[in-house]
Amino acid sequence: MVNPQHKFSVRNFNVHYDHFSALRNLNLEINANEIFTVIGPANSGKTTFLNSLNRLIDLVPASRCSGEILLDGIDIRAGMEVETLRRKVGIVFALPLPLPISIFENVVFGLRMQGVRDLRRLNQAVERSLRESYLWDEVKDRLSTPAMNLSGGQQQRLCTARILAGQPDVLLFDEPTSGLDPISTARIEETLLILKKKYTVVLVTNNVAQAARVGERTAFFLMGEMIEVSETGKMFTTPADTRTGDYITGKFG
């Protein structure tokens, strides 16, 4: 029943906000070590989908979910603690959000919350995750300065690093480059391509070209429904649904 290649299996999944239906009857699989991109116009349910994968959706008081999401074959609602899920499935938001503490403390925040006190382990985690997010060389001499002093692109890579420090399985990116300049965007995209060797990456983007550049498989969402999901190259050359083609070529959205 459970395919070991499938990191996430989403089955008959629905999300409602009060009377508004944000996601309807979603069925899809996300493979391990792939970059899975989600595209679609505003209000299509992309972010709701992403927030469902690590249950951040629970923070919205009016939200109700039905159906199931399996992570490695285990139901993320019934089968595990929400804190454990969120450590395994890290998220980087659209706007860089360093916590109001130092660079070092930002990176080790998740570990400290798990009760890790050993300074050597914390130091190692900081260096490893900052190297993985390509920020180490820029900040290694000022780890104790406030993270707020970094530039936007650096802050976004710091937010990636603090997720990596917890050694997650899956990285969720919610339009991570929407507030960044082209050069910072390129750096983030390069980072994504390297990260997918170790992690499963789910990237929500409103930049269709970005999905084409980094995605391996892509899903197209529209008004709370998944219109189609396929290999990114296939979707961009021969979309199965005309609406997908219209969106990709910029006819709407």
Binding site: E83, R86, F93, L97, M113, G166
Partner: protein
Amino acid sequence: MKSVQARKLKEWVIEKSILLSGIFSVVFVLLIFLFLLREGFSLFRGESVIDFLFGKSWYPISDPPRFGILPLILGSLLVTLGAAAISVPIGIAAALFIAEIAPLRLREALKAGIELLAAIPSVVIGFIGMITLGPWIKNLFNIPTGLTALTGSVTLAFMAMPTIVSIAEDAITAVPRQYREAAIAMGATQWQTTWRIVARAARPGMLAAVMLGIGRVIGETMAVMMVTGNAAVIPTGFLQPVRTLTATIAAEMGESVQGGPHYAALFAIGIVLFIITFLINGVADLFLHRSRR
């Protein structure tokens, strides 16, 4: 053409009258301070500042009178420290609960309740403290009188609480929602997020809340006069009557001879109070400004 001039004149009048009211409020404070200084300083022609501040006895109408306010300063300090020890932990905890944990409807109810607490006149709180808390403390500790420093501390804690809770709650609510989401997304629990991130980000505002609450306690007169027993002796513990700076002024101003040394001594106490509250407000302001940056 004329209407343009009329409008300009109107603008000019409005602008200047606002400026004038601003200047007046500052001038009045300065004048009050100058008046305090003038009336109070006449005491120091016959008395040294050291004897005044650190003198151990306050016998203003004996012959010769003795104007040592150390018992009063210590009385104020003791009552204030006690009130802070009670109201700060409870106030901060209440603010965290209201801002972070309470569901929306309970939050509104609690906030309304806190505001109501702030609206109770101090004489009413003092009255309640005198007739309910006093006898209770007297029986509980088996002491001759229930009007003690402890009674004053508990009563004043009630008066500091609304200030502390509402300002601290504002500071906590002002912490960007995104910090909470980021912390929770990293697998922090609700409590870890509240304590490690929200409370830390709101710390300057919470310190300001504490300082303003303490400022209110130090300046409070009516309630404290009713419940502390008003004995101007150097206190050795919480379970004995004390007298505060404020209560001394209120109790004795009516019976002092205008222009006499007793009168001047009461004004000198006013100067001491003014300096203390000025310092506390200054520190609170410092924290508030830091939190805005």
